[in-house]
Symmetry: C2
Subunit: 331 residues, 2 copies
């Protein structure tokens, strides 16, 4: 910048202002400097700028990783969300710092570079870490969490209407004449829990009892989910339909059922959750509750930037709908 100033026969301040597009500088000088910068391929030093402005123009996105499985909370869904966030952030001039954190390390996340070196932080999924997330939010860091809206959370959440999703899925199966409907999803986690609430509401509305033996805490990781559902079949669990807390769980279920000669949808009708691209191409294709990922990513970024600008940000619950394909036996 110093060199540019010499070349243009002005001071560094003028160059700085010109490059920043300040109206204090005459249009002529501004253009002259812009041209020189271009010619000499001058690149502003971002590190110095960030340092001076105490900004980073970076947002951390945290993927929590399960200790046991070593797997991401929600594979393909997560990737699509990441793409959507990357797009939305780029459009706003922010970069995306991706952080891979084991759940066990959550207590010390506020000391991590990812936390300190960014202007805001996004969590995709809150796991069962509400307490830690509350603590972080109390530190005053701009923060948005994708997932279920919770009663006593101190942070801004954006998520699908999980309760409605669970309700729609279950009602769909009930309308098709299924009566013993299993629920596969870990209700110790907020999102599956809300989906389970919707499941219960649909049953109650129909005057059916809630049979707790039909709910199973199947994990999100598809390999482990598969093992778990195998075990259930082994134990002789009887049911004619299942609501799954993710599409990958549904896929894991189809495989487990096949091992026991149980056909989807004839013997067991299935509904998934997410509507990832894969859902349309499984055998059979999945009836599933759609989460609007693109919209979700954009809303998350909007809420986060609002906070960075000092504005309050309210929770958002996105609309959802059922996508009917063959796995539920509707046709």
């Amino acid at each position: 910048m110093d060199e540019l100033a010499k070349l243009a026969n002005v001071s560094v301040s003028t160059v700085s202002r010109a490059l920043a597009g300040s109206t204090l500088i005459s249009t002529k000088t501004r253009e002259r400097i812009a041209k020189l910068a271009e010619e000499h391929n001058f690149q502003l030093n971002e590190k110095a700028r960030n340092f001076r402005l105490k900004k980073t123009n970076m947002i951390a996105v945290v993927m929590m990783v399960d200790i046991k499985s070593g797997q991401h909370i929600s594979d393909m869904f997560f990737l699509q969300m990441l793409g959507s966030l990357a797009d939305a952030l780029t459009a706003q001039g922010y970069d995306l710092l991706l952080t891979h954190i084991a759940i066990e390390d959550m207590p010390t996340i506020d000391r991590s570079r990812a936390f300190r070196q960014t202007d805001g932080i996004i969590f995709i999924g809150q796991g069962n870490q509400q307490e830690h997330l509350n603590r972080l939010a109390d530190l005053g860091k701009p923060m948005v969490v994708w997932g279920a809206e919770l009663e006593n959370s101190h942070y801004c959440t954006v998520g699908t209407n999980n309760e409605l999703g669970g309700y729609l899925a279950t009602k769909h199966l009930l309308n098709l004449g299924r009566e013993r409907i299993a629920f596969f999803g870990d209700i110790n986690f907020p999102e599956p829990q809300q989906r389970y609430s919707g499941y219960c509401r649909a049953l109650q509305e129909k005057g059916l009892p809630i049979d707790k033996s039909l709910q199973h805490n199947v994990p999100f990781d598809m390999t482990h989910a598969n093992t778990e559902i195998h075990d259930l079949m082994q134990q002789g669990l009887k049911f004619d339909a299942a609501v799954c807390s993710s599409d990958l769980i549904a896929i894991a279920a189809i495989d487990a059922f096949n091992s026991y000669g149980v056909k989807v949808p004839d013997d067991i009708a299935l509904v998934g959750f997410d509507d990832i691209a894969l859902a349309a191409l499984t055998q059979p294709p999945l009836t599933t509750v759609k989460q609007n990922i693109t919209q979700g990513g954009h809303v998350i970024v909007r809420k986060l930037l609002a906070q960075i600008n000092g504005d309050p940000a309210s929770d958002t619950i996105l609309k959802t709908e059922l996508v009917v394909r063959r796995s539920s036996g509707a046709w």
Copy 2:
């Protein structure tokens, strides 16, 4: 840090050195300062540090996005790789800056913050952008590309033995008595191209002719792949096996085949590529060429850090193997 210095009755330099663990400082003082820092919850200002050291401790990971489809080059595989890279980088004290770039923007990537604000850059997949990648490498930026090793590339590549993978897949099918083997993968891209070479070698070894009508430039995006394979079936392409350039293409193929009443593996035997977690749970489960993603991520990071430290980094071709499951009809 100024405050800490006052509290400890030493100079800032002493604090700086103590916190950096310099042996110049007596153990006693060092411990005293460490304790004070802890007590007062002192956090070193990374922005200032990075500025001063002209380092960022950040590595950019670029995901190229296809203009046409708006889809990532290779969904699930990509996510697993991302996780592996995030782990390896974190272990080395680096953060991961994720960049989502449309292929059309490759010409200007060297002006992006992602490029200028990081100590190194990783590309997952080189698409057909070899020229641009060469140009970037010539700029002297530490850089590693996951993908095929190419004759005239100026950059360091790490990748699977694609040729061998294609060979193993094809030979496996030939050994099972299949003779009209299709190849699904876009050979305008280096990796599918090398896999196709292996395919050709296996056929030639067996004394069979290369029938170009059996090779089709099916895209990586599974939805588009599905459409494409539908078309091929419609056109009445006759074959009894297929080597697919990714597991997702294989899954898309199974769905397309099912629409025409064609059964896998009875009517058509199938081999995929990647061995993503999903491959074991599709219907039928996929025989596939395994890419060792975890190892790949670690090697990429090692090669990149070598470059950052000024050492030369050579290309690496990782071992690969065939994982046999039901889709190839071996049992």
